[in-house]
């Protein structure tokens, strides 16, 4: 099923929240004081990098203490007067649902822009002054100067990036519940890649486990691919769906743009995006083909000033195709060329070896063998396999090797 696992496996109890024991302890102590009616600071600011359990802890606590949870994203507060009123009411009135108390969560207070909305922070300060219930704020970076006043009013609770061992064990328990067989090594690799962000790790696990009962290290390679691919999808879209040719140029300012890869991606996807206009496909391909020529010249002659023409042709040039159809969403694909080349790699190597053995004795190039001699050998093989094998033996090629390149 496609419920995100980060939701499906959100911890139900405080002790199930992974890691950050000190933070949990501090939070529970603060909450207990509140519920006993003697809060120290009226608000707690949970801060730390993404995916370290800040929101999860609040959810788990609400459930465990049977508190009504009211949740809002801090940057939404200023935009909606209705939301503001709702929070205000929640802070000052009794619970609607007969629960004994409430807890209010304002996520991402560091997302508030004080210049665009000076009132946003002031409002949160007003909430803190007047709240009758525990108010929890979260932030990734609490040291932002704009949050100084806010910091003074809150109990600061720090969440650290989660350790690899903790993440790995959470992933393992999810695998167990999902009935997926997975190597410890694989889980550890996922955990390492996510740099302490449990949410990212669980998302990655779900992505590679999709439709599988067993995950291997090879699947993990795909994950790395996927991350890179995702970027390329965006870049290709920026070129092919550019509002104007000039907009397509913006991809050139991306750091470490792999322009040779981009050419293959564009080549793959031009016909998908520009169909059914043959004019647009032909124009875009012509620009790409010229970009290719300039790039090769730059490489061959070491004249790197030519690179600029190549880069502009593959972006502005491609996007300035005539008669482009109206933009519609199409799913882009990974370049088939690269896939085909890697699929046929072994086959091509064997063929090359056979061809060069024949080439040496027939005094021709391997290209000539592949083009002018192998096809005849295949015909002979089809009619009389033994005979063909005898012939290749005269070139010191084993019949087995030869059979490996016979087309099915």
């Amino acid at each position: 099923m496609s419920i995100p696992w980060v939701e499906k496996y959100r911890p139900a109890r405080i002790q199930d929240v992974a890691g950050n024991d000190e933070a949990k302890k501090a939070f529970v102590a603060w909450l207990n004081k509140w519920l006993a009616g003697k809060p120290g600071k009226k608000a707690a600011l949970l801060y730390g990098p993404p995916g370290t359990g800040k929101t999860s802890l609040v959810h788990a606590a609400a459930r465990q203490y049977d508190l009504e949870l009211l949740e809002a994203n801090a940057s939404d507060v200023r935009n909606s007067a209705a939301l503001e009123r709702r929070i205000w009411r929640a802070l000052t009135e009794s619970s609607l649902f007969g629960k004994r108390a409430k807890i209010i969560l304002l996520d991402e207070v560091d997302g508030i822009n004080p210049r665009e909305d000076a009132g946003g922070l002031a409002m949160i300060l007003k909430f803190i002054e007047n709240t009758r219930y525990p108010l929890v704020l979260t932030a990734n970076d609490p040291w932002d100067p704009k949050l100084r006043t806010l910091r003074d009013k809150c109990l600061l609770i720090r969440f650290k990036p989660l350790g690899i061992r903790i993440i790995t064990s959470v992933l393992a328990s999810i695998c167990k519940k999902e009935g997926i067989f997975c190597d410890y090594q694989v889980l550890r690799a996922i955990a390492e890649k996510c740099k302490g962000d449990l949410r990212a790790a669980i998302n990655d696990l779900q992505a590679i486990a999709f439709g599988k009962k067993r995950i291997t290290l090879e699947d993990l390679d795909m994950l790395g691919y996927r991350a890179k691919q995702a970027d390329m999808f965006e870049i290709v879209r920026m070129v092919l769906a550019a509002r104007s040719p000039e907009h397509a140029r913006s991809v050139l300012s991306l750091p470490s743009l792999d322009y040779e890869m981009l050419m293959q991606w564009l080549s793959e996807n031009i016909p998908h995006q520009y169909a059914p206009s043959l004019q647009a496909i032909a124009d875009a391909y012509d620009a790409l083909s010229l970009a290719d020529i300039f790039l090769q010249r730059a490489k061959r002659t070491n004249e790197w000033s030519l690179l600029s023409y190549a880069l502009n042709l593959m972006t502005v040039g491609v996007a300035s195709a005539r008669d482009k159809p109206k933009f519609r969403f199409v799913k882009y694909s990974f370049p088939q060329k690269i896939r085909l080349l890697s699929q046929t790699k072994k086959y091509r190597e064997i063929r090359k070896r056979i061809a060069s053995a024949i080439a040496r004795k027939c005094h021709v190039s391997t290209r000539t063998v592949i083009r002018d001699i192998l096809p005849f050998l295949f015909v002979i093989y089809e009619a009389d396999a033994k005979l063909a094998e005898e012939i290749v033996k005269s070139f010191d090629i084993s019949p087995k090797t030869f059979r490996a390149i016979i087309k099915q």
Binding site: L278, A282, Y285, S289
Partner: protein, 323 residues
């Protein structure tokens, strides 16, 4: 006797056995007599005996030591001019074996070298001209730079005439106990024209297919050796179905392993076939030739085979649909 390719088995061993090319052969024999040799440039279409002539010449010059005195290089297979120069340098350092005072370097498909590489080759030729002679082999003289041409005695190989090809085919058929009909011979000639290598390959494959090599058997072979994807690809492009045409292109490039230029040549042949030509308006013929020529130019410039050929197919599709 063990089986091998007939093109090797029936390759002439001496200049006297050479098929046709009498003028060339006569002059090469003079060189052998005097045991002296200029640099040579053999030019002519495929399958006309250029490489064979070079090998026969070496055999007759050096006798039993011939293998020790020649270096065979194929410009298409060596990785760049630097590798070629190094191999030539290493080889030219040693003394020739026997009484001929120079060694012979046979450089096949020399016209596949860029003009920069040919310039470098020219210097190498000068550097080692005391101890070596070069025999360059090419399809077109014009693709060899002038300074090299002027240093070589140029021999032009003509397509082998019909009678000589048929005579050779009959001789081989007889030696191999293969029956071949007159129409079978005609069909092989039609396809191969003066390319004897191709003619012999067709004969050998046809004889494996059937006891008697008839016209039908020959056409069966030809149908199998030309990938059907070429025709399908061109037709799809002409129908405006670019995506399907691209799929066929990829089969040719990646599962047949054909080079971009070879695919381009077969596209050209297909587009120029009477059947395809008759279906298009006159002005389009010239436009298509220009498109194909331009693509050839771009591939030679070092372009990516797939991108360049896709660009061509897209333009053919556009033209065919009146764009």
């Amino acid at each position: 006797m063990s089986e091998t390719l007939w093109i090797e088995k029936y390759r002439p061993k001496t200049l006297d056995e050479m098929i046709d090319q009498e003028e060339v052969v006569a002059r090469l024999k003079d060189f052998v007599k005097e045991k002296s040799l200029p640099h040579l440039l053999f030019a002519g279409p495929p399958g006309t005996g250029k490489t064979t002539a070079a090998l026969c010449l070496a055999r007759e010059l050096y006798g039993e030591h011939w293998r020790d005195n020649i270096l065979e290089l194929n410009a298409s297979d060596e990785r760049g001019i630097d590798v070629i120069r190094r191999r030539i340098k290493d080889y030219a350092r040693t003394m020739p074996v026997g009484e001929v005072p120079f060694k012979l370097i046979i450089l096949d498909e020399a016209d596949n070298m860029t003009s920069d590489a040919q310039q470098a080759l020219r210097r190498t030729m000068e550097l080692y001209s005391r101890s070596t002679r070069f025999c360059l082999i090419a399809n077109y003289v014009s693709k060899i730079i002038e300074p090299i041409q002027s240093r070589c005695a140029i021999f032009r190989f003509q397509p082998i005439p019909r009678e000589a090809v048929l005579e050779r085919l009959k001789f081989i058929a007889e030696s191999e106990n293969v029956k071949i009909t007159e129409d079978g011979l005609d069909a092989i000639w039609e396809e191969s024209q003066g390319d004897l290598r191709k003619a012999i390959n067709i004969l050998q494959a046809a004889s494996a297919l059937d006891e008697v090599v008839t016209e039908d058997v020959v056409y069966k072979v030809l149908g199998k050796i030309t990938p059907s994807e070429v025709r399908e690809m061109v037709n799809l492009a002409l129908q405006g179905d670019f995506l399907k045409a691209r799929e066929k292109l990829r089969v040719l490039l990646y599962s047949y392993g054909l080079s971009g230029l070879d695919v381009l040549k077969s596209i050209y042949r297909e587009v120029m076939s009477p059947k395809v030509l008759s279906q298009m308006p006159n002005h389009m013929q010239a436009e298509l030739i220009e498109l194909i020529g331009e693509t050839n130019f771009r591939i030679v410039e070092g372009g990516d085979d797939e991108i360049q050929l896709c660009a061509l197919l897209a333009k053919i599709a556009l033209k065919a649909k009146g764009g």
